[in-house]
């Protein structure tokens, strides 16, 4: 897991390649290669984290987009994958922006992974906020709705950083100036993983 926070954003292309090497695509169905389930999961998280540090105004390099779409069709189906939600988020970010097909109802990951995921989405939303005509994708707002609803109904509620990330996502969409609030830091990924080591 170290690579998740000791990564170099320039290596995003490599993360895409690693991820694509862990999966098979037949028709629209995406499956993990036997024995690569955990590797696919780690690679998808690395890629999501890398995307959260991308310069979205310059857009994810052609290499990333080209590599990804050459293997994974726009109508890809991620049902049954261990990393279904992370892959779905990546797919929505790179290909299918509205992400109407993304349903969070069953999203109940381990708290560590949940915090990591929420932080990554928060960072991506913040990074894209400066782009002209950029809107927070509705699937991200539905993620916030799902997570905040869990905060209300689940006992114990999801960890506080998830609520913080969701609020930040909503604030960006409401055009609140949150630049003076706690900016994204790599430490929170390390903290999310319980490592507590400096970045």
């Amino acid at each position: 897991m170290d690579m998740i926070y000791f990564f170099d954003p320039q290596l995003v292309v490599i993360y895409v390649d690693v991820l694509l090497n862990c999966i098979d695509v037949k028709d629209d169905r995406v499956t993990e290669r036997p024995g690569s389930e955990q590797a696919a999961r780690a690679a998808s998280m690395c890629l999501l984290r890398a995307l959260s540090c991308m310069d979205w105004a310059a857009m994810v390099g052609e290499d990333v987009f080209g590599r990804y779409t050459s293997t994974i069709p726009s109508s890809a189906n991620f049902e049954g994958l261990l990393c279904r939600f992370t892959m779905s988020a990546i797919h929505a970010l790179l290909v299918s922006h509205k992400g109407n097909w993304l349903d969070w109802t069953d999203y109940k990951p381990h708290p560590t992974e949940y915090v990591f995921f929420a932080n990554a989405l928060d960072d991506i939303v913040r990074a894209r906020a400066s782009m002209v005509d950029s809107k927070v994708p509705r699937w991200v707002l539905r993620f916030a709705l799902h997570s905040l609803s869990m905060s209300l109904s689940q006992d114990p509620p999801p960890p506080t950083p998830i609520t913080t990330a969701c609020l930040s996502i909503i604030a960006v969409d409401l055009w609140c100036d949150i630049s003076s609030t706690s900016s994204p830091t790599p430490e929170r990924y390390a903290n999310a993983l319980g490592c507590g080591r400096p970045f």
């Binding site: 609803s149 604030a171 409401l174 055009w175 609030t181």
Partner: protein
């Protein structure tokens, strides 16, 4: 800090009467996502964000939130085991909920009715319950628990923008209240839906005329007729304030619409006096 910034933003959204509807509509997805957090603040005893949120929802009507996504949460908030402050929050937003769009609307209405009785009475609660009751009655009457009609007798003051009062003047609702055979409730209903802020639905208006002639006839009805006449007198005074006064809250209002209201309420007064004269 972010929570505070969002609360401030909610306040800004309702400031400009000309643009707030468009602004709120364009942010309905974010507002929908925010709803559970607003309720969470209430649960923790902090009401500031909820108050700001409620102003936004009230300014926008049903277009302010994507209620379809909130149905499960709303159901949970109205549940018997839910703490009272959360039920209270759900009841205050209930007039803006499109109940008829929900798959499980009838069950939700029963939950709403039970939750209403479990919350301590305040004028704000009464407003919301009556507003919601009249809306539900206007489209799905059989599901209303009979005891809910007694809320009309609390006669809360209804706000200028009130969907329940508008839709509640439909013929079906007038007939439903008449069928209760309770003159106090019928009078309370008329006192609530008669307002300078709305005209009465034409067939509902006709049914009200019939009701006055049939239900409020006789000497024993003097007191009730006096109450109704007093209300009509107040409405006449308010209508005299002129178009500009009403356009502050209803910018789209036309002069002809005010004229129609004046005619309707004059006619009701005429019939009441006529029935009284016979007594």
């Amino acid at each position: 800090m972010v929570s505070w910034l969002i609360t401030q933003k909610l306040g800004e959204m309702v400031k400009d009467a000309d643009t707030r509807s468009i602004m709120i509509h364009s942010k309905r997805k974010a507002l929908t996502a925010l709803f559970p957090y607003v309720v969470l603040r209430v649960k923790e005893g902090d009401y500031e964000m909820f108050k700001a949120f409620l102003r936004v929802v009230r300014s926008s009507g049903r277009s302010g939130l994507m209620w379809f996504y909130i149905e499960p949460l709303l159901s949970a908030l109205l549940d018997e085991k839910t703490p009272t402050p959360l039920k209270w929050a759900a009841i205050l937003v209930s007039p803006h909920v499109p109940w008829w769009q929900f798959e499980d609307g009838e069950r939700l209405i029963r939950l709403w009715a039970d939750a209403s009785s479990a919350v301590p009475y305040m004028d704000e609660v009464g407003q919301s319950v009556v507003d919601t009751l009249l809306q539900i009655a206007s489209w799905k009457s059989p599901t209303i628990p009979a005891g809910m009609w007694s809320w009309l007798n609390m006669r809360p003051s209804l706000p200028p923008l009130c969907s329940g009062r508008y839709w509640g003047s439909r013929e079906a609702v007038v007939k439903m209240v008449r069928a209760l055979n309770d003159i106090e409730t019928l009078k309370s209903y008329l006192l609530l839906v008669w307002s300078e802020w709305d005209f009465l639905m034409p067939r509902g208006f006709d049914e009200m005329c019939t009701s006055i002639q049939e239900d409020f006839r006789g000497e024993e009805m003097n007191r009730h007729r006096e109450d109704l006449l007093r209300r009509l007198g107040d409405i006449r005074v308010e209508l005299g304030r002129g178009l500009e006064y009403f356009q502050r809250d209803k910018p789209e209002l036309k002069k002809e619409s005010l004229g129609l209201r004046q005619d309707q309420y004059e006619k009701l007064k005429e019939i009441l006096l006529e029935v009284g004269g016979e007594a």
